[in-house]
């Protein structure tokens, strides 16, 4: 089962390695992880996407809570939440494919953030489904490179 875990941590050096070391040392999976500052400069926000059965998930949550630098752990599966990911996609765009590439981008409201004579780079934001869908449609045209941020998520009010 896939889970999104939101973790508030002290903004100190070494914290990322404590968290990632916890996962690697105990054989837990990390699918994606993203970290950024919060309104409080001493606190950072991590969003971790992981998989595992109920028992493993319980351990992950408890072990995260046990880390000295972890302030708060929330399993978003228990809440209503919005998740987003950003992805940059560089596609081959020779003359004969340019129109098609732009048409697909348009359907998904992707923005062109760079273009050259042979390529376009699109920026797309959305949930996992949307990003997978655009990648599938662009694949036949020829994707040169993909860079993804990993998920961020926030609870709904």
């Amino acid at each position: 089962m896939k889970h999104i875990i939101s973790v508030l941590v002290e903004n100190k050096f070494g914290v990322l390695s404590r968290v990632s070391g916890l996962f690697s040392g105990r054989g837990f999976n990390i699918e994606t992880i993203s970290i950024g500052p919060t309104l409080d400069p001493t606190v950072s926000q991590m969003t971790i996407v992981t998989t595992g059965d109920e028992r493993i998930l319980e351990q992950i949550l408890k072990q995260l809570n046990k880390l000295i630098d972890v302030i708060k752990v929330t399993d978003l599966a228990e809440k209503e939440y919005v998740e987003r990911e950003m992805c940059l996609i560089k596609v081959n765009a020779p003359a004969e494919h340019r129109a098609e590439a732009l048409r697909i981008a348009d359907i998904f409201r992707a923005r062109v953030v760079d273009s050259s004579q042979k390529s376009y780079t699109f920026q797309i934001t959305g949930d996992e489904k949307k990003i997978s869908a655009i990648i599938e449609l662009l694949r036949p045209i020829g994707i040169k490179e993909i860079v993804r941020t990993g998920k961020v998520a926030i609870t709904r009010e």
Partner: protein, 579 residues
């Protein structure tokens, strides 16, 4: 610079005084010279120089386990720091409070592969409860305060503080924080009231309950509460290797140790129980055997300060997170209220347990011509009247020391349970003796284990720390040999220690006393002479080479599937007598 400013090294010393540290196990080197200079000639601290940093950390560990206080060690950077890793991992696995200081290269050189640089904070992250790199002299006091707090609260553990050279040479004013508040670290102390009530009800309802106690009982000083609990409810008590002394070994309700080398009756009681009350224990694989086959009918109440211990290995019906002592106080209150006819309730279960006790008591076959290792432990128990601190290494001797000595008090048994560190025993015994100069401290070790930190003989002799060392000398890495005999078709690969050194001469070479026994008739005299001696003593007991530790649960089996020694069963004995 104001005149009130002092160096980081001086701040370090002031902090140790504030934390009431009375003993420091430390080994010098380049980047910590400034600290050693401050230590020179001061009178408030006892300074013990081990002969190897690993020994130093085990000494601090022995000091901590035997007193409940935080053990403190200091070493240099690079090799000094890497030498403490085993000691930290040992303490971490057994939740022992230590604060270990390592020197570090100057902050400007960190990451440059400088001379004697090691990323010790990175290396020890998975084997410490927490660790710090101090980057500013102004942070030393706060860091040390937090380190002692983290090490000694919640589930205790070792904390490492890395001190770069410039941080201890720079100056700052000394401010000792009067309290610690770490927003992300708030260990739970009190257990949930409702859960405690549930547990009390389950205990009253149970027909076949067992209490299973672990190191948490020792760490939280809950032995008195556990005794009260058992005596109210007439519940039989079994303990783990780490829980030895948490309940009196001579008490009629004691089942002795459970698990891989536990007693038959403890394992049978657990296996057939309908309720297990786990108190400060963590269902380690050496205890549960095959998890799927563990106590199939039992409901489980689990009391532990560490929520991650709960439901890690086995299902739990009533979890109670909190300090073991606090929870037991509350649970006992609850049980006092319920006026159950406990004796009546337990009658048939006690009878069953007595039957198991009689069916398979803990025994070995005595011999006249050769010293059986179990015999030495029994005699040690008699000679000391059970009143001694026993510190062990790891192997067969450790299991015999657990089985055949009766421990009635907490903190009288010190052993590396979680990591199983050979080489732990002797230095830990030195640390225990330093902390308890009036007690008799015996190290029970093997011919293998003693050779892993034998250099500490110099420390013991030089500092007049009279530890008495019982070497059960089977000329083998006995425990490994036992597994090879039982499970590897007697292919004895790298276990024959052949001509072990002459331990008597070795002791004498260091200025200690060496004694030897080769016949059972000599055992008691050697133990008595050692007990009387005012110096460090090595006792070389030349024992039966092929003796094995029984009973035993083979790896992968359930704990009711035990194997026993060749000792003749009662019926067979009778048959032989008839012939």
């Amino acid at each position: 610079m104001s005149s009130k400013e002092i160096t980081g090294a001086e701040i370090f010393l002031e902090c140790l005084k504030k934390e009431k540290v009375d003993t420091l196990f430390c080994y010098p080197g380049g980047v910590v010279l400034k600290i050693f200079d401050v230590l020179y000639g001061q009178k408030d601290l006892r300074i013990i120089l081990p002969r190897h940093e690993q020994g130093g950390v085990h000494m601090a560990d022995g000091y901590a386990r035997s007193t409940g206080k935080v053990g403190v060690a200091l070493v240099t950077s690079g090799p000094g720091a890497t030498n403490v890793v085993t000691g930290l991992a040992t303490a971490y696995m057994d939740s022992i409070p230590l604060v270990v200081f390592t020197g570090q290269v100057p902050t400007a050189l960190i990451g440059n592969d400088a001379f004697q640089e090691a990323d010790i904070v990175g290396i020890t992250r998975p084997c410490t409860k927490y660790n710090f790199l101090v980057k500013d002299v102004k942070d030393i006091a706060q860091t040390i305060k937090e380190a002692f707090y983290i090490a000694s609260t919640g589930r205790p553990g070792p904390v490492l503080i890395d001190l770069p050279r410039d941080v201890v040479t720079n100056k700052a004013e000394f401010h000792w924080p009067d309290h610690v508040d770490i927003r992300s670290y708030k260990p739970s102390v009190m257990g949930n009231k409702w859960q405690i009530k549930q547990a009390a009800e389950a205990i009253a309802k149970a027909k076949k309950p067992v209490a299973y106690i672990g190191g948490g009982v020792i760490l939280s000083n809950a032995a008195a509460e556990v005794l009260e609990f058992a005596e109210i409810t007439k519940i039989p008590v079994t303990h783990t290797l780490m829980g030895i002394g948490g309940f009196p070994g001579t008490h009629p309700l004691s089942l002795g140790m459970l698990g891989m080398h536990g007693t038959y009756y403890a394992n049978m009681a657990i296996h057939n129980s309908d309720l297990i009350v786990a108190i400060g224990a963590r269902f380690d694989d050496r205890v549960t055997g095959k998890v799927e086959g563990f106590a199939p009918e039992a409901k489980i109440v689990h009391i532990d300060v560490d929520p991650t211990s709960i439901r890690k290995n086995v299902r739990v019906d009533i979890p109670i997170v909190g300090d073991v002592r606090h929870v037991m106080v509350e649970l006992n209150k609850e049980l006092h209220h319920s006026k159950e006819p406990w004796d009546q309730i337990r009658k048939s279960w006690s009878k069953q347990i007595e039957a198991w006790r009689e069916e398979r008591p803990l025994t070995y076959e005595y011999a006249d011509d050769v010293i059986k290792p179990q015999f030495v432990i029994e005699k040690l128990n008699e000679v000391t009247r059970g009143d001694a601190i026993i510190v062990t290494d790891v192997g067969q001797h450790q299991m015999w020391a657990a089985q055949y000595f009766k421990y009635d008090k907490p903190r009288d048994w010190l052993s590396s349970g979680g990591l199983g560190t050979m080489g732990y025993g002797f230095p830990a015994a030195i640390g225990a003796k330093v902390a308890n100069p009036k007690r008799d401290v015996f190290c029970i070790t093997g011919d293998g284990g003693i050779q892993m930190n034998v250099q500490e003989l110099a420390t013991a002799v030089e500092n007049k720390i009279p530890v008495k060392v019982v070497i059960l000398n089977n000329r083998y890495l006995g425990m490994v040999r036992q597994w090879q005999e039982l499970f590897y078709q007697e292919r004895y690969s790298s276990v024959d220690l052949g001509s072990t050194p002459d331990f008597v001469k070795l002791a004498e070479a260091y200025g200690a006393i060496g004694l030897r026994a080769t016949k059972p008739s000599e055992v008691v005299a050697v133990l008595q002479e050692a007990l009387k001696a005012k110096q460090t003593v090595f006792m070389d007991f030349v024992t039966a080479r092929y003796e094995k530790v029984f009973p035993m649960v083979p790896a992968g089996a359930s704990i009711n599937e035990m194997i026993f020694g060749e000792e003749p069963k009662k019926e067979e004995k009778k048959l032989k007598a008839v012939k």
